[in-house]
């Protein structure tokens, strides 16, 4: 009989093996899903997981997709470390996109080299401003930031729709809900010729490195780690809870806003009502699969990007519904949470107890 036995202390090895185990289980689950849908599981596996890796162009698409995930996830991880549960990165992402679009449209036609940096700043500020609302409500009125940040996602979505259906609608856009295309000076240059991969990827890597430095080297990051691991110790040490809530939400919002900016100034080149494509939510999974660690988040965002692209491939070649990506995302998180039990427990084979008395 199998039984769970508490470990003397959490296993560090297992905390890194657990995501791998989750991936393996997800792949196994995927094979079952493919067979259940009447597809050849091996073919499905090839289309879903190997097609996106077959050439340089495919790989560049993978990195492109991973860019916003990385940005959102590293920002969220900083807050999560301190038990600040911002799950509204999706909304902050959209507001970052709106702010950057605002700058691009205002200076439409400008050739200035300062336009992109200004959009980067606007994107970060836009996302941070949106995250400031839950921070304010939490610190002022103790309103739960999980609910507030989540609900603000829907407000943000409606705000974007209003903009692209109303004041920012492209007059030459055949009534499509989208803004004007940005000028060249407002677009992130390509990183690799012939691909859509742009400098936003480098920006994401820079933010990952900065995020890592913040969490492991700065006093502010240290305070947040203490607050997350032992709230009473943070109180005892005199680390202000309010300040940590503000830091966690503002940094998370700013990173998500940057991701939104990189999306409109990168592959989209304009603002549309489809700007938020779930990156902000998927980033929550990325942050946890990546163990709230910068390098882990880098790997996890590649995996998540693979699921997105694989899902598109599966639609194209296997006639599977678009929700197939979500199924895989869900399985990944599900198996991860399950596998995480093994960090604190070990499996043991137990002989049947001999009845005493």
């Amino acid at each position: 009989m199998l039984e769970l036995e508490a470990r003397a202390e959490p296993s560090r090895l297992m905390s890194w093996l657990s995501p791998l185990l989750a991936v393996v289980l997800m792949l196994g689950g995927g094979l079952l899903v493919f067979s259940a849908l009447g597809k050849d599981p091996i073919e499905g596996f090839r289309v879903f997981f190997l097609n996106p890796l077959k050439d340089v162009y495919s790989l560049s698409e993978l990195l492109l997709k991973a860019t916003p995930l990385m940005l959102c996830a590293i920002g969220l991880a900083i807050g999560f470390r301190a038990n600040v549960w911002n799950i509204g990165a999706e909304g902050q992402f959209m507001l970052g996109a709106v702010a950057a679009t605002g700058v691009a449209l205002y200076f439409d036609g400008s050739e200035s080299g300062l336009l992109l940096p200004a959009m980067v700043i606007a994107g970060a500020l836009g996302g941070a401003a949106w995250a400031a609302i839950p921070a304010l409500l939490r610190t002022r009125f103790n309103a739960n930031e999980i609910l507030v940040s989540l609900m603000l996602v829907y407000v943000a979505q409606l705000f974007v729709s209003w903009l692209v259906f109303g004041p920012w609608k492209d007059p030459d856009g055949f009534n499509f809900p989208q803004s004007k295309m940005f000028g060249d000076a407002a677009l992130l240059p390509a990183l690799l010729d012939g691909t859509r991969l742009h400098y936003g990827f480098m920006l994401a890597i820079a933010v990952l490195v900065a995020g890592h430095a913040f969490m492991s080297r700065s006093f502010a990051g240290f305070r947040m780690r203490v607050a997350g691991e032992a709230p009473e110790a943070a109180r005892y040490a005199g680390f202000s809870t309010a300040r940590m809530i503000w830091t966690g939400l503002l940094l998370g919002g700013a990173a998500a806003g940057l991701a939104g900016m990189a999306e409109v100034a990168g592959p989209m080149g304009q603002l549309t009502d489809k700007v938020g494509s779930g990156y902000g939510f998927a980033a929550i999974i990325v942050a946890f699969v990546g163990r709230l660690n910068a390098f882990g988040i880098f790997l996890a965002s590649l995996l998540m990007a693979l699921l997105y692209i694989g899902g598109e491939q599966a639609q194209q070649y296997l006639n599977l519904p678009s929700s197939i990506s979500m199924v895989f995302q869900g399985m990944l998180l599900f198996f991860l949470l399950g596998a995480d039990v093994l960090i604190n427990y070990r499996l043991r084979l137990r002989r049947r107890a001999v009845g005493g008395n």
Binding site: R7, A8, E9, R217, S218, F219, A220, F222, R225, V226, E229, A230, E232, A233, R235, Y236, A237, G238, F239, S240, V354, G356, N357
Partner: protein, 540 residues
């Protein structure tokens, strides 16, 4: 720990009806070669134990000696890795606590397991098999409580009871099941000296009626006063057996820690030092609905002296400490003055800047972050005072060096500055935390339960460090429930009861008995209101 005035039974000779063990029948409980091996530690190593009907046997040992594990094995909470258990001569395997109770084993845990919002009778009913009728049960509770001199009203809610009364509920709960073996785990750590005496009478009566009692403690004077025999554990192994009446506390202590006990040096305090902490009419409502409100507290702590605050836990100590440390800020500035600055509204970091250092009573989770290294834990309070941070970034080298200094100066046994706080034993972690605070050269040190759950050797070391700190001109405030400790190190002593603080008395001019009476709220000049309610606690 040795030749101090003993607060409990020793200071007023108890009636000794040492009925003693019943040698005729087979032993009530016998353990043969019991071992418990955890993945990282051998908690019990081939332990033999024997207890007879009518015998009160002490299980003596430092923290981590394996006492609790052994008791858990007897009570069926954990299973031994090896060894045999004999119950009244027959070999048994205790499957779980319900099985233990069925055999006739009762256990009163150190930490009570009572539901605060339920009544006494309801709590007792939950522990009994089946669904007892509450009225009938209430009558049985009253009967048992009268028989053993444990007065309790079965209809009262737990949250309204004093700690001594709660313990009574736990004991009555065991007694209702007619135990043939009663295990008491450090039962006196939360009681006033008077309540301790009362408890001992009950236990003696039980033993006289033929119940076997295992009494776990590290308080040597109590064991001398109460127990017929003692089994001493050290490092998971049996280190010896003795008859406490034929030993001195010193000889038992060396059996327990394996060497001679260090003694504290305590010279006279300097007088007329400047006031480092002044509490001026401090009143504060507790945030905890079951907490204690602080009422009009006045106190001065001067440079070069140690002031002790005694009291039964739950009388406002937590609230007072939080108000002084700044974890709970006040509406007004003036009630808390640190080094001459009105600090009532300052957060903890600001107060630390004024010269306050603070050792909280919970080590893991409050005084230290369990999963972080000692170097990181050094940063927790010393970041600013020891310049472990520059330009917003951590200076790892300096933090490590400071942690190493704490480890070296305070003789902390650990794997070095990278060891996680939770990997240290309680005593060593406490030494580290005390060291971290003392080495910051505070102007004022506030220390809560400095030696709670710390082994005898480490406790003596910590007490000596506090005295040395005083001699260097620091003002020290110690809040402790251990009267012996306060009498050993303090120059002046006060008592907190029901959120009010007594006047201070020079330690030399008072006695354990006086302070014991004060602990129930009755000190000269106490308002009738303050004295009225807690008088019940006295009867405990």
């Amino acid at each position: 720990m040795s030749q101090r005035s003993a607060p409990s039974a020793a200071s007023a000779p108890p009636v000794l009806h040492r009925a003693g063990p019943d040698l005729a029948s087979p032993p009530r409980l016998q353990l043969k070669g019991i071992s418990k091996i955890y993945p990282t530690i051998v908690a019990n190593d081939r332990i033999d134990l024997l207890v007879r009907a009518g015998e009160i046997r002490a299980i003596l040992g430092e923290n981590g000696a394996g006492k609790s594990t052994l008791m858990k094995i007897i009570y069926g909470v954990t299973r031994p890795s090896a060894g045999q258990i004999f119950w009244e001569g027959k070999e048994v395997q205790v499957d779980n606590p319900a099985h233990a109770r069925q055999l006739g084993i009762g256990m009163v845990f150190q930490h009570f397991s009572l539901f605060e919002t339920l009544t006494v009778a309801e709590n007792v009913a939950l522990a009994l098999p089946g669904k007892p009728a509450l009225d009938e049960l209430a009558q049985r509770i009253t009967d048992v409580s009268e028989r053993y001199g444990l007065p309790i009203d079965p209809r009262r809610h737990i949250h309204a009871l004093s700690v001594g009364e709660r313990q009574r509920v736990e004991i009555i709960r065991c007694l209702l099941q007619d135990p043939r073996l009663l295990i008491m785990d450090e039962p006196t750590s939360v009681l006033t000296p008077q309540a301790v005496r009362k408890l001992f009478e009950t236990l003696r009566q039980l033993a006289a009626e033929g119940c076997a009692i295992l009494y776990i403690s590290h308080k040597l004077d109590e064991i001398q006063a109460l127990c017929h025999t003692a089994t001493v554990l050290r490092g998971g192994k049996l280190s010896g057996e003795c008859i406490p009446a034929q030993e001195t506390p010193r000889s038992m202590a060396s059996l327990m820690i394996g060497r001679e006990l260090p003694r504290c040096e305590h010279g006279a305090a300097k007088v007329g030092g400047e006031v480092r902490l002044a509490l001026v009419g401090l009143s504060h409502a507790s945030v905890d609905p079951f907490g204690t409100d602080l009422q009009d507290i006045h106190l001065e702590v001067r440079a070069g002296e140690i002031i002790g605050i005694a009291g039964v836990s739950g009388n406002g100590q937590q609230e007072l400490l939080r108000a002084i440390s700044g974890e709970e800020t006040l509406a007004e500035k003036f009630p808390v003055q640190i080094c001459g600055v009105e600090a009532g509204r300052l957060p903890p970091g600001q107060r630390r800047k004024l010269g306050l250092c603070f050792v909280p009573e919970e080590r893991l989770g409050r005084g230290a972050v369990p999963g972080m290294s000692l170097a990181d834990n050094a940063l927790l309070t010393a970041a600013r005072r020891q310049q472990l941070v520059a330009g917003g970034f951590l200076r790892f080298g300096r933090a490590r060096a400071f942690a190493e200094r704490c480890i070296e100066t305070f003789n902390v046994k650990c794997g070095g500055p990278d060891a996680a706080a939770k990997s240290l034993s309680g005593g060593n972690l406490q030494k580290f935390i005390v060291g971290r605070e003392i080495l910051q050269a505070p102007a004022l040190l506030v220390c809560a339960q400095p030696t709670w759950g710390v082994d005898v050797g480490a406790a003596a070391f910590i007490r000596q460090s506090l005295i040395d700190l005083r001699d260097r001109g620091c003002a020290v405030l110690v809040i402790s429930e251990e009267l012996d400790e306060l009498f050993e190190i303090c120059d002046r002593i006060a008592v907190i009861a029901k959120g009010r603080l007594s006047p201070t008395r020079p330690t030399a001019a008072t006695s354990v008995e006086d302070i014991g009476v004060w602990m129930s709220g009755m000190w000269p000049g106490a308002s009738t209101d303050a004295a009225g309610t807690p008088a019940e606690t006295l009867n405990a």
